[in-house]
Symmetry: D2
Subunit: 150 residues, 4 copies
Amino acid sequence: MGKEMSPERKEFLKKDYSQGFIADVGFEAVHCKRGRLESRLKVLKRHRQQDNYLHAGVIAAMADHTAGYAAFTLVPEEYRILTIEFKINFLEPAWADSLVCRSRILREGGQILVGESEVFDHRPDGEVLVAKAIVTLKAVHSSKIKQAII
Amino acid sequence: MGKEMSPERKEFLKKDYSQGFIADVGFEAVHCKRGRLESRLKVLKRHRQQDNYLHAGVIAAMADHTAGYAAFTLVPEEYRILTIEFKINFLEPAWADSLVCRSRILREGGQILVGESEVFDHRPDGEVLVAKAIVTLKAVHSSKIKQAII
Amino acid sequence: MGKEMSPERKEFLKKDYSQGFIADVGFEAVHCKRGRLESRLKVLKRHRQQDNYLHAGVIAAMADHTAGYAAFTLVPEEYRILTIEFKINFLEPAWADSLVCRSRILREGGQILVGESEVFDHRPDGEVLVAKAIVTLKAVHSSKIKQAII
Amino acid sequence: MGKEMSPERKEFLKKDYSQGFIADVGFEAVHCKRGRLESRLKVLKRHRQQDNYLHAGVIAAMADHTAGYAAFTLVPEEYRILTIEFKINFLEPAWADSLVCRSRILREGGQILVGESEVFDHRPDGEVLVAKAIVTLKAVHSSKIKQAII
């Protein structure tokens, strides 16, 4: 299964996790190790729907992005991870003031990686699994990704 | 297949579409008719990743929410729509300054509705299909949905 | 979480598992308990492709059907289980002479149940996870299902 | 979009479609052109469940395999197509004596292809859409695929 990441690589990935849209929404990486990443969202009013439940789109974005960074822990530093597709089931409404996502990679060892993400509503009386996703990812050498010119 | 919506219902759904997280991100309903809804996002810097491509989470939230409102056009006014699950494939990176989503319902006639969403990057030289989703939805009588107490 | 099934119910479900197409292909239930079911296929030449790998369709049928019967362990006896949808990722080719599927229900407590299935290739040197699926199921009272007239 | 296939290539793909498990179940390719393939199943008693409806596993195998061969129409002859994953929604029960699947590729132009499959129940009063799938496929050079030794 290869070797553990360096502390520097761990710190880099945790920081790299929160940029652009992800930073704007407020998702943060909390822990990572080989093939696994845990993220968190402090839930604000703007993440909710009119009925105060968390919007499915918030949960889906977290499940996708966290699986992508779990994949990052397994590829050389010059590779980027792209999402090919994902599927997510919503099991329960989420309403607590904090959301936790734990992702792990089920398949490595090639250009295609497959991860799964479990999203938990962090309620006063304990965590409840509110969504589960399977995410198909692709590792691409960074020289093959061009910056979008806008 | 039942009758067309009233103009008032159409206006209500288009307005109702943008609340909470959806309004915060900036998605808007543009057109609707029985079983179909089209939405739009004016893309801002905060929707992008560090490479200027749109984040997959933005596209997924749009595909899910727009399919949900396509379902709303088919159920009586006292029903709400919940997402059971969805699956989305990302076909191309999106980088233009406007995103369009068109959703239609493939299966109605019961508590479970199934829709599909196509998301297009609105480029200067024409629209390009960047993502396709299938969304499973559930119609629930509003009396059975309680407001989350937070 | 309710009570364990009676031994009679367990025997009934294991026998009921293999009928029609499922019996024709050769899938068999091996164990079951509340919310879980394990099935097995003795792989024959007719299940393979021209390259001797197992066809994805065999693996998918097993993942779907086994999740359905895991759901059967949680509903009253007068209910039937229908598959609304499923998604499956193929992680490795399967080539051994026996396939094992383990399914468990992630969400119960309503008309919609969600299960996950893991399919393992039973190789001489141990089991290897070759596919993972998420399955959305619906419990329907048997009085609401009519026999197809053909 | 490249050129149309030769008549010889079309005949080859239609014949190649039915081997191993696929031939055993009875699926047959009927038509193909660039990026599209149509297949058919004459439904027999062994494809049905105890209630005479077609088993979901039969429909899923058809949706997967037909999308795979739609992809074959777009790649050079020395490439093979593997299924990475698929997702399928079951919209209606199928009970007629013939099933038709039409697949088309949504994304080509690289190693990853994405197709969609629509499965129709061929009823006396017309075709009814009974399932829809999205299938993610990978084109692999045949020199990189080894025969399983069993």
